[in-house]
């Protein structure tokens, strides 16, 4: 990919867009295009944000949401990756399971909400379950595809140089699929973050999703918007953290050629 080299000053461009958006928002609020109760001003949102931080609620909600996402996502990776490896390497097993995995991959995890509440009640467990359902199948599929796409020559070379068993797995198969799997992790983590908010709205008593829902019920649109902003920013932050994985030297080959 050929990218135009931008001057360092170009880093300020997103900031300019942000300022422009704020200006537009303020103008709309001042002009009372919508009633104040349905369209909080930036100032009101900032006040609401500070109020939530001071009360400690924001931090509690943030921790609750992050805990659920991390746990659900870790479970999905911990089980999905090995399953993908197993299925990816065996044509018969792959043929047997692929349609089912594909089915669940295309089933919105939110459809599980009623069962999540019936089986796990309210709190951490239903959210973790929903995040797992959202992340597990895409990870399995991506791993299967990655394993199936490893050029056969790597395995021949590995055999030629005496690799087998655990050494073959850790020094050939895993590094060979790493770039594709990392890309899948980024996409799936984004999905998990979207799902936790939805899950908490319905099956939570805390968490950022619940906070947003609670603000709506209390007609506190300022808190709702402040919650929305935090949710969006954390989502970006999660992706940024996972993006770091693509900077690991031994996976660069997957993104540079």
């Amino acid at each position: 990919m050929i990218e135009e080299k931008l001057p360092p000053r170009a880093r300020l461009l997103p900031l300019a867009v942000l300022l422009l958006a704020l200006l537009l928002w303020t103008t709309l609020a001042l002009l009372r295009v919508f009633p104040e109760s349905a369209f909080p001003s930036p100032l009101a949102v900032a006040r609401g944000f500070i109020e939530e931080v001071r009360a400690g609620r924001l931090l509690d909600d943030l921790v609750a949401s992050l805990f659920r996402v991390t746990t659900g996502f870790a479970l999905a990776v911990g089980l999905g990756l090995p399953l993908g490896l197993i299925l990816g390497g065996r044509a018969r097993a792959r043929a047997a399971f692929l349609p089912a995995v594909n089915f669940f991959r295309n089933l919105s995890p939110l459809a599980w909400i009623p069962f999540a509440i019936l089986w796990f009640g309210i709190g951490d467990l239903p959210a973790i379950f929903l995040i797992f359902m959202a992340a597990f199948f895409p990870i399995v599929l991506a791993t299967i595809a990655a394993v199936a796409n490893v050029p056969a020559v790597y395995f021949r070379v590995a055999r030629n140089y005496g690799y087998s068993g655990a050494r073959l797995l850790t020094q050939v198969t895993l590094p060979a699929i790493a770039p594709q799997v990392i890309t899948a992790l980024r996409v799936t983590a984004g999905l998990a973050w979207v799902v936790v908010v939805a899950a908490e709205m319905i099956a939570g008593r805390d968490g950022l999703g619940f906070a947003v829902w609670d603000a709506r019920n209390g007609l506190r649109m300022d808190l709702l918007v402040s919650g929305m902003i935090v949710i969006g920013l954390i989502g970006v932050l999660i992706d940024r953290i996972l993006l770091r994985l693509t900077h690991i030297k031994s996976v660069r080959w997957g993104y540079e050629r």
Binding site: P151, V153, Y154, R156, V157, R159, N160, Y161, G162, V172, P175, A176, A178, K249, S250, V251, R252, W253, G254, E256, R257
Partner: protein
């Protein structure tokens, strides 16, 4: 040396109804450089896979003793490993760490890639990558190199250069070599013996011995003559031997 034979005895190989090799016998001497040429799809690579043990014959016997290593056309290096790590794969049987580091240095010097130890394959040119491949295969105690069109993905000049490099490396580290190629010049410049295969099902059509010392100039009359004879065997040039005689 005699106790590490490398030969095919009446070997046939069929993939389903497609017969690729038919009753082919080929004995490779220790330290000999044999080039195998033939029409595309005639089973050259199958022949290497039989030598390396990746493939089994449907009939006949493959005798292959000692350590055999294969070098591929391209992308045989592990892209997630550095130049050093790739070459070290060939040195895994060297247990002493200091000795292994010394041999790695030696290989890097041999392929003239000192300073590139920490580079990854995708950061190298095609020619540099193939040199690393050769170093990996030559490292340690290897008996036989199987080269599967090792230079065919390179541009013409790099190919000529790497032929010379290969000759130089083999002088430092003598090995038995079986080279499969569709590059007739390459075969004529490098091999002690050129084996010409027939169309599928492949049998040996003819053999050609070259006594000329290496490195051989591409335009040396003996090389040119060998190219002509191989092309004639493949039905790609008219037999002008008599004409040459008259001149």
């Amino acid at each position: 040396m005699k106790d590490k034979p490398l030969r095919l005895e009446n070997v046939s190989r069929a993939f389903g109804a497609v017969e690729v090799l038919r009753a082919l016998s080929l004995e490779v001497e220790r330290g000999e450089f044999v080039a195998v040429v033939g029409p595309s799809g005639c089973g050259k690579t199958t022949l290497l896979n039989l030598f390396s043990g990746f493939d089994k014959p449907t009939a006949g016997r493959v005798v292959s003793a000692g350590r055999v290593r294969m070098v591929y056309q391209q992308d045989g290096l592990f892209p997630w490993s550095t130049v050093s790590e790739n070459i070290l794969m060939g040195l895994s049987e060297v247990k002493d760490e200091r000795e292994r580091a010394r041999q790695l240095e030696e290989m890097l010097a041999l392929i003239k890639l000192k300073g590139f130890e920490q580079h990854y394959p995708h950061q190298l040119s095609g020619g540099m990558r193939q040199r690393v491949e050769l170093a990996r295969a030559l490292a340690g105690e290897t008996d036989t190199l199987l080269l599967d069109e090792p230079f065919s993905s390179l541009d013409y000049l790099t190919r000529l250069r790497l032929r010379r490099e290969l000759v130089r490396m083999l002088r430092e580290r003598p090995r038995t070599v079986v080279l499969v190629t569709h590059d007739i010049e390459e075969a004529a410049q490098l091999a002690d013996r050129v084996v010409v295969l027939s169309e599928r099902p492949a049998t040996i059509r003819s053999e050609l011995r070259l006594e000329l010392e290496r490195p051989r100039d591409l335009t040396h009359p003996e090389v040119v003559n060998a190219v002509h004879r191989i092309l004639t065997e493949l039905g790609l040039e008219r037999d002008t031997e008599n004409v040459l005689m008259q001149v």
